[in-house]
């Protein structure tokens, strides 16, 4: 082995050692980053339609009340799909890091069925119910928020029923009754002024 070959070999070895050290450092840094839960929801095509103002009733765990918030989202023409997009906007707000009423990652609304004359049936996914926190207050806030938001944006809605993946469930997470309709004509959940 001549001298040049030896130098080239040494340079190569040094490069491998430096690259190895760098790769190890990158790995450690990556491990220290907080792991975000994978969002397994399939990506839906963007909603086509005009941006319209909608009213969301956002639950707040801190004061146990609903807070009215007006926001603007693109809405399609089909009434049932419009209702679904309004609820998806509501749930998106709950999935924000800064939400005062966080829902489980992956929570979503699969479909909304508007049944004449005044009934809306909301079909949620499994994550919405299975990952929901348990407790009367926290569950009632979610149900009231969904029902009030629907009623505020879909004319004539008087009763709301929540299903989980197309099936009736006894309670949301051990407390709020999902077997019966949420009647909006009854006494309402407190709304912050």
């Amino acid at each position: 082995m001549n001298r040049r070959t030896k130098i080239a070999l040494l340079i190569l070895l040094a490069t491998v050692a430096i690259m190895g050290y760098y790769a190890l450092r990158l790995k450690r840094r990556a491990e220290q980053l907080p792991v975000r839960a994978a969002d397994t929801r399939p990506v839906e095509p963007p909603v086509s339609g005009k941006a319209e103002q909608v009213t969301l009733y956002l639950a707040d765990d801190n004061d146990g009340m609903l807070h009215r918030q007006v926001t603007s989202i693109a809405l399609p023409d089909d009434p049932a799909e419009r209702a679904r997009q309004v609820l998806r906007a509501l749930i998106s707000a709950y999935l924000e890091k800064s939400s005062n009423h966080p829902l489980a990652t992956g929570a979503d609304v699969e479909a909304v069925f508007l049944v004449k004359p005044n009934i809306a049936v909301v079909d949620t996914n499994v994550e919405f119910a299975d990952g929901h926190r348990s407790g009367i207050l926290v569950e009632e806030l979610t149900v009231a928020s969904v029902a009030r938001t629907l009623a505020a944006n879909v004319q004539g809605i008087g009763r709301v029923k929540i299903l989980v993946q197309g099936k009736e469930r006894e309670t949301l997470a051990g407390h709020a009754d999902l077997t019966s309709f949420y009647d909006l004509s009854g006494e309402s959940w407190p709304v912050a002024q």
Binding site: I136, E140, A176
Partner: protein, 476 residues
């Protein structure tokens, strides 16, 4: 001579009703009980009798595959093959020829075997002891049976049923009897009827039918069933009836303009006080410690489950009510799973005056008092109450109770709020009913688990119930 139907509509109606009754025969089932679980299989009526799909019976018991080859049907179960042939009584089970009383039927690739042939073929097929209670179509595999003993205790009379394994029957109360139906529990009895010769509980009779067992307790007064010992013990005792010790009413303030009694009028006043006092109506508080058994409720902190706290709080509430001279009962006094419907049935059967469902949560702080979120309805006397909204005509009473509890919490400066909630069993209860959620805040879970804090909260709630008593009795 046939009746003239066109002239006698009564005949036509009677025959129509009979046809309807015959048509509405109950669906036949075979229930298979295993040591870990149970399942039901549909029984099909064929020309030669009652049949079941053999694959439906064995598949839940272990890995089973089936293959049809012409009129032959082969079943592979437990690593060995069994053969069946359409229209033949003879079958080959794990290499041994056996004969059934009726032939095998093969329909759409599924082998149907006669129900009473199961007693012959299953022990061999499963290689396990099988107790087939054929008239009732109950199949108990591998000694999974649950036996029980009934012990009548006196003063006061109560019937204690001890089961060898936990049970979860559905209970129905009827005039003169309580009926327990065991559909998922392999309950068997040594005797069909047991007479007790007691004034309250006269007899217990056991019957099996269509894949279920039924235990009927005959009694001369309404009974209340209580589950303890992890659902191994059911105690049946008289539902509280007797009025509790009369509470001294506070003296009424003098009417405006009326002079307070002087010493001269004192004897007259005394005479009034000594006059016979009408007994106060029965006042019973039914306390429902929410959750229990597999239903753990909310996880309040590491190792602190809602079901444990609700039971502890419910016991303290009972003690606080007893100190005030108010009768109360707990719907569970152990780690027992009771369905929401069963809780409402028990409260309604006990004819509760007040129903309190106890919860605990880790959101917010203080105490939240909930009433059922239903539209207020006033029913005509004698009208039927719809089960789903039975509470609707008691909302006024519930609201008064909630207000009274809130007032007591205010007096003691305990943070609280009142709200309507969509909750069961609240909406099915036929009395003044509230759910109370104790919310200690994220940093207060340890204090909620501590006795002094629990005592303060429960004393406030009990005081609220006692304060509401007069109002509720007047409304009643």
């Amino acid at each position: 001579m046939l009746p003239e139907f066109h002239r006698r509509p009564g005949w036509a109606l009677a025959i129509g009703c009979l046809a309807l009754l015959l048509g509405a025969q109950e669906e036949k089932h075979l229930t298979v009980y295993m040591p870990q679980n149970s399942f039901t299989v549909a029984v099909r009526d064929r020309d030669k009798g009652e049949y079941v799909s053999l694959l439906d019976v064995v598949q839940p018991l272990g890995a089973a595959t089936a293959k049809q080859d012409g009129d032959k049907w082969k079943l592979r179960f437990g690593g060995e093959e069994s053969q069946f042939q359409a229209g033949k009584n003879k079958v080959k089970i794990r290499g041994k020829n056996m004969e059934m009383s009726a032939p095998v039927v093969i329909e759409n690739g599924i082998a149907l075997v006669p129900v009473h042939g199961l007693a012959q073929i299953l022990p061999r097929l499963l290689n396990s002891a099988v107790d087939f209670r054929e008239p009732a179509r109950r199949l108990i595999v591998g000694g999974a049976a649950t036996d029980f003993s009934a012990e009548l205790q006196a003063n006061p009379s109560r019937l204690v049923l001890h089961f060898s394994k936990p049970v979860n029957p559905s209970i129905a109360s009827e005039p003169g009897r309580v009926r327990m139906t065991f559909t998922k529990d392999p309950v068997i009895a040594a005797a069909a009827v047991q007479n007790f010769g007691d004034k309250l509980i006269t007899s217990a009779s056991f019957a099996e039918h269509n894949g279920a067992a039924e235990l009927t307790i005959a009694a001369t007064a309404p009974l209340l069933a209580m589950f303890t010992d992890d659902n191994r013990t059911i105690t049946l005792a008289a539902a509280p009836q007797a009025p509790i010790a009369a509470q001294p009413h506070p003296p009424a303030p003098p009417a405006p303009g009326q002079q307070p009694p002087t010493s001269a009028t004192a004897p007259a006043k005394q005479a009034t006080a000594l006059a016979p006092v009408a007994p106060r109506p029965r006042f019973l508080v039914v306390i429902d410690p929410a959750h229990g058994g597999d239903d753990r409720g909310a996880l309040l902190a590491a190792g602190v489950e809602e079901k444990e706290l609700t039971l502890a709080l419910a016991r303290r509430l009972r003690a606080a009510l007893e100190r005030s001279g108010v009768s109360s009962i707990l719907l569970r006094d152990g780690d027992t799973a009771i369905s929401l419907d069963q809780r409402a049935i028990s409260a309604n059967t006990a004819r509760a005056t007040v129903f309190v469902s106890v919860h605990a949560g880790n959101l917010g702080r203080g105490v939240r008092v909930y009433t059922a979120r239903l539209a207020d309805t006033t029913l005509k006397p004698g009208a039927m109450l719809p089960w789903e909204t039975a509470q609707a005509s008691y909302l006024e009473e519930s609201s008064a109770l909630s207000g009274s509890i809130a007032a007591e919490l205010s007096k003691r400066e305990i943070q609280h709020a009142e709200a309507p909630a969509q909750l069961r069993p609240l909406s099915h209860v036929t009395s003044a009913a509230v759910a109370i959620e104790f919310l200690p805040g994220k940093d207060g879970i340890a204090s909620l688990a501590a006795a002094p804090y629990q005592q303060d909260l429960c004393a406030a709630v009990a005081a609220g119930i006692v304060a509401a008593r007069n109002t509720l009795e007047v409304r009643k």
